[in-house]
Every structure is written in structure tokens, then in C-alpha cells.
């Protein structure tokens, strides 16, 4: 094989990495390079340095170390039986690329993953070496996200956590039979075992830091995971329930949902269709309801269609829930507790906080609420305000068309 130059390798190994949804650079500790040592900084909030035409944020240099792999997972472009061009970066090439992009303010840092070559331990060693060199040889203070390999030695995984801000292991598919079918070499037990070990390591170091300030930090931005949506038989209800379990058991920071999209060299066992992007979007919204709006997993699942277990695609899950549990409305913006206000479709966390503050001093009218939200039309049927009562509105059978968004063209090339 002819030698590939770094730019050609980058083309192949970035292309191979784009099916990982995460590009987050947020949630880590604040660091900077003031004082004349090293380079880089992290704020609490991540920065998206560009957006691709797929609407996704480009925050990190997201690449694979190599796209060669000894596994044969059907959904993966890099599986053993695929005919894609293979390439492999050396650890130093990745380090140099990261530094030259970072210095030009193209990125917040690096998200490094890899196909499995030779053995899980060998692969993990290479990944750790990149992070070590960035941190130790170059005093790099930017963000590092490392994908860890479930079967790798615990000591290697611990090293990864010492250098990285975030570590992740993908559960890949929401159901065990799905994983068995599509990723025959992977095991749900081993993946979850690795996530449990990671959680333990994160909790232990956090404990140690409370007692000794000199104790090292370990993955301060926590761990995350990703599930592929639309490649196995899981319904939205299954996925929401699975995500809730993962958040709960492994204290995950984030669960990412990746709508399965056609890949070059696809395996014959996968859907040949446009990725279900709207479904993915509704799952993210459901996830937000659990994380920021105090919905129990069962409540989110109740917004799904009881027969099919799927979330409605035409309206968001919060509105779907409200239309289903109309007896909980209308909510009086001048009196209702925070948790009830959070249930009102169209009221976000910020708007609810503003309402709670403002109403201490005066009674809020519909116009006031309108100034705090994007669309008062969406909120109106569900609230009582000074001088406003939604007469009979919440009892109307035809409420949905009144509050549901007008059907837009959701997909550019929809048939």
C-alpha cells in the first residue's frame, strides 16, 4: 500500500469517526495556561468552533487512531468485512495535528477513538499515549475525550481517566438481542461492567480529592455513552427506559442517540433509508425532560403511543404528555409550584425561574408571560394568568391542532 500523507489519513479517519454523535467539550473543570506554561484552557461551557452542513457542532478534532478493526459489527463502517480504505495515525501525528489546530483556534481539543487492532490492550495503550503526550510533553490544557475499550486492562483505563476530561464507552444498541445480532463480538455484560468500573473510579477519585487536595483528578467531565437508534427492534419507550437505567446505574453525564444513517459499504442487515432524524430529535427532547424537567422515566414513556411504544413525531413529548394528562392543566402562573410550571408546554426552565422571581412582587398577566417565552400561543391553553383563563380550552377534543406546530417540511428530500 502506498504511504498516505497526514491529510489523506485525516480524510479517512475523520470520515470514519463521524458516526459518533458526541462533540461536547463542556462540563469539565476550569483550567488555563496563564503563568506561561503550556497551552489551552477550558471554561465550564464548551465552544462550537464551526458547524457542518449537517447542523452538528464541530468542537473537537474527532478522529480514529485507526479504522482497521478485528470486530465485525454490522452497523459500523469500519468492521472487518467492510471494503473501506484503511489508514492509521501514529500517536505523534495525532498530537501534532491537535496542537496545530488548537493554536489556530479551530478546536477545543481532541476526541479520540479507535478500531481495535491486535488486542484491546494494545489499542488502549496507543490511545493513552496520545493523551499522555499532549498533557505531559506539550502541557496541553484543552479538552480531551477518550473512547475506552471495554475489554482493556483496568490500569490502562485508569490512565485514560487521569489524562482525559471525559471518557466514554458506547452501549451501541438499546437491546441485548440487538447487540447480539449486530455486534456479535461485543457483550452487553462486558460493556456495562466497564461502565461500572469507570463509575467506581470517578467516584473514588472525587472522594479522595475531598480529603487530599493533591489527589489527581479523574475524568472531571464524567462518562457518556451512545445508542444507535433505528437499527434494532427497540421502541422509543424501550430506549427512554434504557437511558434512564444507564443514567441511574452509571451516573452518566450524557446518553447520546445516533439515528442510524446509511454508510458506505453497508452491511446487508441494516436499514436502507434516510436516518430517522425526527425520531432522534424526539428522543433527545425526552432525555431533556428527564434531566432538566423532573419527569420520571415512566412519565416520559407515558407520552408514547400505548400500542406502538413510539413517541409522536408531529409534536414534542412535553406537549404529547400535556395533551394526555389534561387534568393537570391549566396551571396558574401566579400560584402554581415550580414542578407544575415546568410541565407547561412552551415554558422552559429559564422562563419558569423568571416567573417565580417576578411573581413575588406582582401578579403576572398573559402579556408578561408572553415576554418570557418564545410563543405565547403554545402556552396559552395551559395556563391561568391575571385576566386570562383558557375557557374550556383544555377540554376541547380538537386542542391538538390548535397547539401543534404547522407541519413544516421536515426533511429536505422527503419523498
Amino acid at each position: 500500500m502506498a504511504q498516505l500523507d497526514v491529510r489523506e489519513k485525516l480524510g479517512i479517519l475523520a470520515d470514519a469517526a463521524k458516526y459518533d454523535a458526541s462533540c461536547a467539550s463542556s462540563g469539565t473543570t476550569k483550567r488555563n495556561s496563564a503563568g506561561g506554561k503550556g497551552i489551552g484552557s477550558t471554561e465550564g461551557m464548551g465552544i462550537c468552533h464551526a458547524y457542518a452542513p449537517d447542523g452538528r457542532c464541530i468542537s473537537l478534532l474527532k478522529i480514529l487512531l485507526t479504522n482497521s478493526c478485528i470486530f465485525d459489527c454490522h452497523y459500523c463502517i469500519n468492521r472487518k468485512s467492510s471494503n473501506v480504505r484503511r489508514a492509521r495515525f501514529t500517536a505523534q501525528e495525532v498530537v501534532a495535528l491537535t496542537m496545530s489546530f488548537y493554536k489556530r483556534n479551530y478546536i477545543e481539543g481532541l476526541f479520540l477513538s479507535s478500531g481495535i487492532i491486535r488486542s484491546p490492550d494494545y489499542t488502549m495503550e496507543q490511545i493513552v499515549e496520545v493523551a499522555r503526550s499532549l498533557r505531559e510533553d506539550h502541557q496541553f490544557r484543552g479538552y480531551i475525550h477518550l473512547k475506552t475499550i471495554p475489554d482493556a486492562d483496568l490500569e490502562l483505563v485508569r490512565l485514560a481517566g487521569l489524562h482525559a476530561d471525559r471518557v466514554s464507552i458506547n452501549v451501541e444498541l438499546p437491546t441485548v438481542p440487538g447487540l447480539t445480532r449486530l455486534a456479535p463480538e461485543k457483550s452487553a455484560t462486558r460493556i456495562e461492567g466497564a461502565m461500572r468500573d469507570m463509575k467506581t473510579a470517578i467516584v473514588d477519585t472525587a472522594d479522595a480529592r475531598k480529603r487530599y487536595r493533591s489527589a489527581p483528578r479523574f475524568a472531571p467531565a464524567g462518562q457518556s455513552t451512545q445508542m444507535i437508534v433505528g437499527a434494532d427492534a427497540a421502541t422509543d419507550r424501550d430506549i427512554v427506559t434504557k437511558a434512564a437505567t444507564l443514567y441511574h446505574r452509571f451516573s452518566l453525564r450524557r446518553v447520546y442517540y445516533s439515528a442510524f444513517s446509511p454508510i458506505p459499504e453497508a452491511s446487508a442487515v441494516l436499514p436502507l433509508q434516510r436516518p430517522p432524524l425526527m425520531r432522534e430529535h424526539r428522543l433527545y427532547q425526552s432525555d431533556w425532560l428527564m434531566r432538566f424537567y423532573d419527569y420520571a422515566p415512566g412519565e416520559v414513556a407515558a407520552a408514547a403511543d400505548p400500542a406502538t411504544g413510539m413517541m409522536p413525531l408531529d409534536i414534542d413529548p412535553k406537549l404529547a404528555w400535556a395533551l394526555k394528562f389534561r387534568e393537570r392543566f391549566p396551571v396558574d402562573v401566579n400560584r402554581a409550584p415550580r414542578e407544575d410550571l415546568l410541565r407547561v408546554p412552551g415554558l422552559g426552565v429559564k422562563a419558569v425561574n423568571s416567573i417565580l422571581k417576578a411573581r413575588k412582587w406582582r401578579r403576572l398577566a398573559l402579556d408578561d408571560v408572553g415576554r418570557l417565552t418564545v410563543s405565547v400561543a403554545k402556552v396559552r391553553p395551559f395556563i391561568v394568568a391575571e385576566g386570562w383563563r383558557p375557557v374550556m380550552l383544555t377540554d376541547r377534543a380538537d386542542l391538538k391542532p390548535l397547539v401543534a406546530p404547522k407541519r413544516e417540511q421536515l426533511e429536505l428530500f422527503a419523498a
Binding site: 489551552g40 484552557s41 449537517d54 493554536k103 445480532r181 427492534a233 446509511p262 406502538t308
Partner: protein, 467 residues
């Protein structure tokens, strides 16, 4: 009371505004009696008027207090490009002295307006951190980086600390129309505004960065609106990668179609049997709809995986539910007989059902067949799609209305659609005919025979079609 003129040193002079506002407010000067001027920007009637309040005498401690939240808000709003910003802030300050609670009232229109201005400023600060691009310049063999940025608001100075903290060991300059910043790894120097031509016009690494930008984009997920919302065009001119957006968007459809076409052309290969077995295994634990609860087991399809003809029935009946195999009950026997008469080898076709669990109503000791509803059919359609994807049959024949709905996703009148070919999304063809159980239910013997012959005729045509 006469008009008072407050002079500020620079467009982002927060300290100047605060000192003047404090003094004016102490005297309770009404907002409409104050004119705010920025040095060098004062092209108004009073530019030459004698100063009426400055230079400020050592200010007495103000006879009022304002909440810290307001000071933070003002710090942001002062950076806004709106010429009225100083006056708006002062007007709010005067109201706050009378009504301190106003600070908590984000629904107040004037407060709201200030919130929006602060938000625009913070967004501009954030976008500068995100979209500013350094270019390397040769400078005595030492690395030096220069960037050109045109902010919407007066934020460059306010943003300096971020760049100093991040690129502390780099030598860099940020040029902008109003002010320039220069960092030499130890001190920050301010210079006059610059023009774009003062900045370098390229950097060889940009080609590598563009390769990354083009490769990380997934053409199957085109969402141009989402990109534009976060990366408006006004920032594009100084971001090298945006030169690619046009061609990436234009080529996306072709790239996606090519991926789907290659996938379609891919022969299932050696793993099709393994994939089918795994799929069947997965289906055994299906809980996509509630029918799995009373049923004995999932009844999956069966037949050779290279079959070019696939039959889709309604759902397993009592006997299928117990044996776990499709088409073995009374209707299955009618089907077998018709297949024999049409001269089709029953073992060479793949048979499956639209719904894979038996739906019934118990009546005494018997289980009476119940028709699956649209939700159940739709929930189960996933399995049919997977089976069809593995087998890619040339022709799929839907037996009865349930199968027809599963195949087409809509409610179908058999008599109207029978014999009319339907192009399926994956390239195969679909036909619709009656379900064999329909033939069992006809009371009139002559009619039953005629319908049976018609069914056999449909099967014969199907056999002829696949050749």
C-alpha cells in the same frame, strides 16, 4: 433643569458610564435631560457645547444602592452597538432607585429589552471565541499568530482575557476595526483599529482543516437551517472552512443516494443466514406491542433465504401459535393446496405474517381469532421490513388487508388494489390478493370455487413474474 452631557472615553467605557450615572442619579437628573457622548463618536449638536458635568468632582458616596445583578447587566449592555444603550441603562437605574424590586421582573418591557441586549452581547463574545481564526506568520523564525475579526458589538477588549488565558505561551495579535490586541507572552498591548489587509491572507494548515471539515460532515443528515442558526453567514468571511459549504450541500444528495445504492447492491453475503437467525432470536423476545403477553410464542417467517417470492399473511392462528410455525392451520392448508394447483414449490418460497403474535379472545376453552388493529400492525412492521431487507425478494405478495396495510402503510381495499403492482421503497414489487381464510368463509360452494380459482390464478401470475 438644563441638558447635561456625559462624556465617555470609549464605546465600551463601563467605568465612565458608571461614574457619570452615579453622579447624575444622586442628583436625580431625569433620563431625558442627559445626553451621552463617546469620545471620537460625538457628531451631535452638543459636541462643541461647554461640558456641563465633567470633569467629575470627587463623587460623594451615592445616597442609593443598586442590586449587583444590575451592575452585571450594565457591564454587558454597555458593550452593545445600540447608540441608546447608555441612556437605556440610566433610565433603568433611575427606575430601580424608586422600585428596587424591578430587578427581579424580567417581564417588564424595558428590563426585557436590556436582557435581550445583554444576551446579544454575550452571544457576540461567545461567537468571537468560537469563530476567530489565527493564521501563522513568519517572524524571525519564531511562531506568531494573527487573526482578523469583525464583531457586531464593542466586545474585543472585554474578550482579551479569554485569549490571554488560552494562548498564554503563544505570541499573537487580534486585529479588528475598532481596536487591536497584541500579546507577547507577557504583556497585552492595545493598538488602533486595523483593516483586513493588515492580516495575513492564508495559512497552509487551512487546507488540512478543510479536509477535516469536509470529512466529518455526514451527507445523509443534511440540516442547513440548523447550521445557519448557529453559524450565521456574517461570520463566514473569516472562516476558511465555510468556502466548502456550497459544494458539500450540493453534493450531499448524490453522496447519500450512492451510499444507499451500494448498500442495495450488496449481496447479503455469507452472513445472511446468521443475520436471519439472530433476527429471529431477537423477535422471540419482542415486546413492541402488548400482544406478546397472552400469546404462546412469536411465530417468525420461514423459507429459503434466497427466495425471490415472499408471502405475507395476517397473523398466526391457534395452531401456528402452538407450533411456532406459520401457515400450518386450516388457512395454511388452503394456501398449500392453491400453491400446488398453481404449480409452485411451497418449499421454495418464504412465508411470514404481518403480525407475529396470535391475537385472540378467549371463549370458553377456545381462542377465537381477533383482527389486529392498525397500531399492532405498525408496531410489527419493523420485523417485516427486516425480513424483506435480508431476503430482498423480487415480489412480495400481501395476503389480505392486514398484510396490505403492513406492506403499504395505509388502509387498502383489496378489491380495488388486487392485481395492481406497487413499487416498494427498496426496489422490489408488491402485489395484493385475498387471504386464504377468506376462501374458507364463503358459504356458497360455487362462489367458493370461483374465488379459489381466482386465487390460484394470482399465484400463477406471481410465479410467472419471478420467472
Amino acid at each position: 433643569m438644563g441638558i447635561r452631557v456625559a462624556r465617555l472615553d470609549a464605546p465600551d467605557d463601563f467605568e465612565g458610564w458608571r461614574d457619570a450615572a452615579r453622579m447624575l442619579a444622586t442628583e436625580r437628573v431625569p433620563p431625558d435631560r442627559v445626553i451621552w457622548q463617546v469620545a471620537g463618536h460625538a457628531a451631535d449638536l452638543f459636541a462643541e457645547a461647554p461640558p456641563s458635568i465633567d470633569p467629575p468632582p470627587p463623587a460623594p458616596p451615592p445616597a442609593f444602592r443598586v442590586p449587583k445583578a444590575f451592575v452585571d447587566l450594565a457591564r454587558d449592555v454597555v458593550l452593545h452597538s445600540d447608540p441608546e444603550r447608555f441612556a437605556r441603562l440610566y433610565a433603568m437605574l433611575v427606575r430601580l432607585i424608586e422600585q428596587p424590586r424591578l430587578i427581579d421582573d424580567r417581564a417588564d418591557p424595558a428590563r426585557r429589552r436590556l436582557d435581550e441586549m445583554a444576551k446579544a452581547v454575550r452571544r457576540d463574545i461567545h461567537k468571537m471565541r468560537a469563530f476567530l481564526r489565527f493564521r501563522e506568520v513568519a517572524d524571525d523564525g519564531e511562531e506568531r499568530f494573527v487573526a482578523w475579526f469583525e464583531p457586531e458589538h464593542h466586545i474585543v477588549r472585554a474578550n482579551a482575557a479569554f485569549f490571554v488565558n488560552r494562548f498564554n505561551t503563544m505570541r499573537w495579535s487580534i486585529l479588528s476595526p475598532e481596536v487591536s490586541l497584541h500579546w507577547d507572552t507577557e504583556t497585552l498591548r492595545e493598538g488602533p483599529g486595523a483593516v483586513k489587509a493588515d492580516a495575513p491572507d492564508g495559512d497552509p494548515i487551512e487546507a488540512v482543516w478543510k479536509t477535516y471539515y469536509a470529512s466529518i460532515f455526514n451527507p445523509a443528515r443534511l440540516k442547513v437551517g440548523a447550521m445557519l442558526r448557529e453559524m450565521p453567514r456574517k461570520y463566514w468571511k473569516n472562516m476558511p472552512e465555510t468556502a466548502l459549504v456550497g459544494e458539500l450541500v450540493a453534493g450531499a444528495r448524490a453522496r447519500e443516494t450512492a451510499m444507499i445504492e451500494t448498500a442495495r447492491a450488496a449481496t447479503p453475503g455469507g452472513n445472511v443466514e446468521g443475520a436471519w437467525k439472530a433476527l429471529r432470536e431477537e423477535a422471540m423476545g419482542c415486546t413492541r406491542c402488548p400482544l406478546y403477553k397472552p400469546a404462546t410464542q412469536t411465530v417468525f417467517g420461514e423459507g429459503p433465504l434466497d427466495a425471490r417470492l415472499m408471502f405475507v399473511g395476517e397473523q398466526p392462528g391457534d395452531q401456528e401459535d402452538l407450533s411456532g410455525r406459520p401457515f400450518v392451520g386450516p388457512a395454511g392448508q388452503v394456501f398449500d393446496r392453491a400453491m400446488g394447483e398453481a404449480g409452485i414449490d411451497r418449499t421454495a418460497v418464504y412465508v411470514t405474517n404481518a403480525v407475529k403474535h396470535f391475537k385472540f379472545e378467549p371463549r370458553g376453552k377456545r381462542r377465537i381469532h381477533a383482527k389486529p388493529d392498525a397500531g399492532e400492525i405498525d408496531a410489527c412492521r419493523w420485523w417485516i421490513e427486516q425480513e424483506r431487507m435480508l431476503l430482498t425478494p423480487k415480489l412480495t405478495v400481501a395476503l389480505g388487508a392486514t398484510a396490505a396495510r403492513s406492506l403499504t402503510g395505509r388502509t387498502v381495499t383489496i378489491s380495488r388494489e388486487r392485481g395492481r403492482p406497487i413499487a416498494l421503497a427498496d426496489g422490489g414489487e408488491g402485489w395484493i390478493t385475498v387471504h386464504p381464510s377468506f376462501l374458507l368463509r364463503l358459504p356458497d360452494k360455487a362462489a367458493a370455487e370461483a374465488e379459489f380459482a381466482r386465487f390460484v390464478e394470482d399465484l400463477r401470475n406471481a410465479a410467472a413474474y419471478i420467472g
